[in-house]
């Protein structure tokens, strides 16, 4: 065997070993690598009360309420993954992208009444990019309501029909 081939074999087998090790480690820690859990996961698993959880999901349309406590805004809203919803209460200033229909990640814990008390709320941006004018005209024509889901693909803009 030429030395070159020998080196190639050694390096390739080392790389294979590393690849297997990394796949095993990642699959073992897969549960910890998710940044947030969705409401249905949280409801099915019994979480110890008071432990810090990151809850992710979409803000349910018409569930957003603003209250005021000594100049500090308090916001309550429901977060859903389409299967279950959790009531969230947050005291503080929300990020710019926060709105009904937006995906958010709330960091906090569940209390005894199964209300999620958030200490921090992050807005999650989706992968769609759309000029403001198009969003406005789609909304004006009643073809799309941002409170009920993510924006449509550009390929569908021209032949979208008004939802019933």
């Amino acid at each position: 065997m030429k030395r070159k081939t020998q080196r190639l074999c050694i390096i390739l087998s080392c790389m294979m070993g590393f690849a297997i090790a990394i796949v095993l480690v990642l699959s073992a820690f897969s549960d910890n690598l998710v940044y947030f859990k969705v409401p249905s996961q949280l409801i099915n698993q019994s979480q110890p009360i008071g432990s810090v959880i990151r809850l992710g999901g979409m803000v349910v349309a018409n569930s957003l309420h603003h209250l005021n406590d000594n100049q500090t805004p308090i916001t309550t809203f429901d977060v859903t993954d389409g299967q279950a919803a959790i009531h969230v209460s947050y005291k503080g200033i929300l990020p710019d992208l926060f709105r009904e229909g937006q995906s958010v990640v709330a960091i906090g814990s569940l209390n005894q009444q199964k209300i999620f008390i958030a200490t921090e709320v992050l807005a999650k941006h989706d992968e769609t990019y759309m000029p403001k004018e198009i969003a406005d005209s789609l909304r004006k024509n009643g073809k799309w309501d941002p409170r009920f889901g993510s924006p449509p693909d550009p390929s569908r803009w021209n032949h979208m029909i008004k939802p019933q």
Partner: protein
Amino acid sequence: MTDSMFLSKPKKIRFFIINQLANPKNFFQFTAKLQPWINFFALLWIVIGLIWGLFISPADWQQGDSVRIMYIHVPMALLASTGYILLAFCGFSSLIWKHPLADLAAKEIGPVGATVTALCLITGSIWGKPMWGTWWVWDARLTSVLILFFLYMGHIALCHAFDEPQKGYKAAAMLALIGVFDLPIIKFSVQWWNTLHQPNTFSLTHASSITLSIAAPLICCFIGFSLGFIGLICIKIRTAILEQQIHRFLINAPTLSKEQI
């Protein structure tokens, strides 16, 4: 009968890339000729892309003008990964074929790649504060890119860690090869796990969820920054070749006294 009689054209091209350009002198002359063209087109595409992206293209319906950070962030993110593929390829050719230019190239790609990765992290952070509401989160995408940055830094450190440069290059090449596994993790992290970072917008399998008026300047910026990246690396490798030559010349010139050097 020699093998050259049966060489087909593609094989000749491969021969050119691997054998002719491997010669530092040939590489030097070839890239020196190309350099003005690379510089010119890099500048042209960057200027077109940035003016188009920063001033002409529409603002996003929910991000507003913050979307324009993407015109720097996305090319930097793509170049950070592509640069590491180059680095790993250099490591591979250095370890297996003892390619004479591979170590020099790897040593010069490292700092450029690290800078690009740092820019990607910084622009992402600046975008994240107003949009997400936080500078940084430890989600899979952000963490794996931070690891890529540390891999670049480790590579730079290893290149300079030994008194005998060859030893350092060998260790750095091994690190470059091991680190390659971070690249699929970066790419697929947004699909495999829940992350705060949005999933990939461009995809080969389904329609991309971006309009042409936002995508076109992004592609211009990407072409421009890629050419700039290539140009910068070519200049750095040529400088390194010259440096090596001068070093050899000084070592082989014992008649010169210290004052003359």
